[in-house]
Amino acid sequence: MMKGVYNWIDERLDITPMWRDVADHEVPEHVNPAHHFSAFVYCFGGLTFFITLIQILSGMFLTMYYVPDIINAYKSVDYLQHKVAFGVIVRGMHHWGASLVIVMMFLHTLRVFFTGSYKAPREMNWVVGMLIFFVMLGLGFTGYLLPWDNKAYFATQVGIKIAASVPYLGGYIQTFLQGGDIVGAQTLTRFFALHVFFLPAVLLALLGGHFYMIRKQGIAGPL
């Protein structure tokens, strides 16, 4: 059945070359854990992407119940976690995944660093990777405020104070992040917008570039 559907579409749109282009590529021996078990370190980038996908999915589902408003944010999180079936699991995926994605990204960065994979001609991909790193930190920072509990509130308070210590621009950055003079209603909606629209859009664009470059340039050779 599935085969029939696939063939029907393929005859009309010739989609096989498209996914072949994405999925079929050489996996050199030195990055294949089946040949050298230590090559598992080359999996960290893929794992980071895998967890990112889970973050996007679980985040989409969480917004079905969450409201970015100081009166209702905490109540809606409490409701979705304790009253909705599997709420504790879906929120758990997003909560633990957020930490895990940073860990995986850090391990991936270490691997790239210690194998020297950032060297010419792949410097640009290292830079894009660093940008992804900062966008991820931004996603973590903005997402942390959203449950609007004590921990979230004071962590954001501290984070914004740190941002405010930037010479000359600090005050402007603080006002921009807070959306006003205090961490409050406007900060919450702002962080929500950044967390679910702006930063993910930037992240996807950067990931596109990251993957395009690695496919174009190939995986760096063995040590």
């Binding site: 679980s58 209702n72 109540k75 809606s76 009253k83 699991i89 995926m93």
Partner: protein
């Protein structure tokens, strides 16, 4: 993939055991494992999303509205509050019922939400439709029992009524059972 499979099938000697190719075995096991893991991620999220559909419908409680002695043959409007739990938001919205006695003295209560497009109807508020419910939006009008006479496609909804210790209690709202 299928070429390979059919190839090996065609080479099979008559009477030989039907064997799965190595490639097919791998495709099944890897596909099965991937499917299982993906389901582990997807199933909780889908169950989470469809939770409102699977929630049992909560039956509404009886609300004490007014003394039985206040009810006359002429419909009168009474306001009453119901407790409403909407996810994390709880409120006590005020509802309205027009309560009257029918010719046999039985008490019934109608909801004044017009069955045309949901405006609020009123008793005897239009001189051209004396002793009728009239809707100001598109001129729908109803009899005292809620029967739709024009515009509206259905009669006014009716509340369950219970009389206890001289008080009228209203319950669930449902389609009008007095008139067809």
């Amino acid at each position: 993939m299928s070429e390979n499979t059919s190839h090996s099938h065609s080479e099979r000697k008559p009477g030989a055991k039907r064997e799965m190719s190595r490639r097919q075995f791998l495709a099944y096991t890897l596909g099965g494992t991937t499917g299982f893991l993906a389901a582990g991620v997807i199933v909780p999220m889908v169950r989470f999303a469809v939770d409102p559909v699977l929630q049992p419908k909560s039956a509404s409680d009886w609300v004490k509205v007014v003394e039985e002695s206040k009810i006359t043959a002429e419909p009168k409007s009474f306001k009453f509050q119901v407790h409403q739990v909407d996810g994390w938001y709880e409120s006590d919205p005020e509802l309205e019922a027009w309560i009257a006695k029918d010719s046999s003295g039985k008490i019934f209560a109608l909801n004044p939400t017009c069955k045309h497009l949901g405006c609020t109807v009123n008793w005897n508020n239009n001189p051209s439709y004396k002793d009728q419910y009239f809707c100001p939006c598109h001129g729908a009008h109803y009899t005292k029992e809620g029967k739709n006479l024009a515009v509206a496609p259905a009669p006014l909804d009716e509340y369950d009524v219970k009389i206890e210790n001289g008080f009228v209690y209203l319950g669930e709202l449902h389609a009008n059972s007095i008139v067809k």
